[in-house]
Symmetry: C2
Subunit: 324 residues, 2 copies
Amino acid sequence: MNIYDIAREAGVSISTVSKYLNNKNIRPELKEKIEYVIKKYNYVPSAVAQGLVSKSLKLIAVMVVDLQVSYYAAAAYTIDKTLSKLGYRVIICNTLGDEENSIRYLDSLMKLSVDGIIFIGSIFEFLNKYPKVLNKIDNIPIICNNGHINTKNSHSVYADDRVGVYQATEYLIKKGRKNIVYLKYLTTASSNLKCQGYKDAIDKYGLKQTIYYTNDLMTAAYEDIKKMLEDGVAKDAIVCGEDLLALSCISQLSALNYKIGVDIDVIGFNASIFTDVSNPKMTSIDNKVEETSVKCADMLLDVLQGKEVKDITIPCSLVIKDSA
Amino acid sequence: MNIYDIAREAGVSISTVSKYLNNKNIRPELKEKIEYVIKKYNYVPSAVAQGLVSKSLKLIAVMVVDLQVSYYAAAAYTIDKTLSKLGYRVIICNTLGDEENSIRYLDSLMKLSVDGIIFIGSIFEFLNKYPKVLNKIDNIPIICNNGHINTKNSHSVYADDRVGVYQATEYLIKKGRKNIVYLKYLTTASSNLKCQGYKDAIDKYGLKQTIYYTNDLMTAAYEDIKKMLEDGVAKDAIVCGEDLLALSCISQLSALNYKIGVDIDVIGFNASIFTDVSNPKMTSIDNKVEETSVKCADMLLDVLQGKEVKDITIPCSLVIKDSA
DNA sequence: CTGTTAGCGCATTCAG
DNA sequence: CTGAATGCGCTAACAG
């Protein structure tokens, strides 16, 4: 069933049908006939054929590392919600943190001639190491959340992670905490920024930096945290680069009979659902996933409409609950 | 840059280029020339034009209710991983549980002439109420996880939720628990099945059914659970329809100084990441998201290749940790 | 306002 | 093995 079939049965030309489909003015009587035939056959115009002409499938790609991480899921969710309302279709790409995999995805997206790409996370700055890849995507509208891609038509939305952690650390200091440990996860640009916020605050108040590292969020993190606690350096407070790490700290400290929020403070990062499932509820730095994601989507829409856009930084805020 | 440009510059015809692109035999010297030109311009054939001819963009849609729920995120993640390896592109649709929204998505997918659709969750059985919608998607390959869609080319993968809960309840009974409460969330087909598993086990052993309800997973659930605990009926054990509910139970019971796993048992459902972040770690019914999702993807691939497939039911298993 | 025609970029006949 | 011609379903000029 195509536009010819509809035209024939309705007794009009294909261009009249096309005009009907695109809401242009046609004689009411023809309109009725066409409408009738379309309903009769449940006809739906092919987006592929339309796309061949218009050079656009109204398709936007969102690249994330791992949908199972709540931040990415929330970002993908929000962007999808925002864009699909406006008739765009959203392709979510799970790169699994693998560079080759990401590049393969980009090839696939270029073949589809997607209208734009949104990258979630500073990790995608790795693309700047691959001039050939940049060249391929050079003309396509790109928005990068928390990073920057070096192409002609690329723009960025940042969450101010560094200041977020700075303020959280300062909050602890002003509460009188002196031995504040930072638990760092990963070594991406944005995890470094977070850690820098901690360092800046500690330095400003003349305290001592103590940084622990972990490359895992679950089992291995548990061991790393256990070791950290056994080392006994975390007497006062712990600032964590991720809510899940803070959750593990809270859980282990509880088991050791610490009174969280009294004996020792724990602060997470992301203000995710985990802040509500911990006991006590977790104080966390809110890096505004939803606001950031909506901004990415809006900015992309602006670019697609040819509007001028400029990079933006969204401030974090500290959501104080009971763990600090 | 299209196939004509490449052909011209390489001094061959477009059909030769097309053959090159589709790995058909051509003279090595021509192959080299073509290869050279393609590399030079970073040429990528248009999937849209290919799709117009082949009637397929190699696109598969996954419909879920809410990507922020770990089960759906895991399902989407797994399906995407499985299919994108094989060159398919995956569109994830977040319906937000809204029927109109779902139907709008389906329209959009039909326009794109996606190769197949995977529905995650029994909630999508609501489509069976809309003959017009069924009619539109009647010919497209469909796989439904935990439900069935009444179209010609639809198949199902089930997780045996009922038996999963039955066995978990039986496990508690055999441990000597007598006052076992079921905490029910939602009223979809599959949440009813879960609850039925509880009822069956309770009845078989001649115990008393006690069922509590909640329509929320967070704040309101907290209150519902609080009330349930205040009612004092949960003396022995609680079986929950969702891990998040079990998490809240564990957290609140801990605060009341119950020894979870000793004084009272709590079992969750999903075997999600929440089972590892609770304290103590949560015993939970594993409904095998990953296995189920891979099966959905594989089954769809089989259907696309014209193979015969039959519906399948995957058994759940009880993952025993420390809360029961 | 309506219909005719020429592409959009590619795969696929069918001759040569 | 290669190339010229046709069509996939639709939009956009253009002419009527």
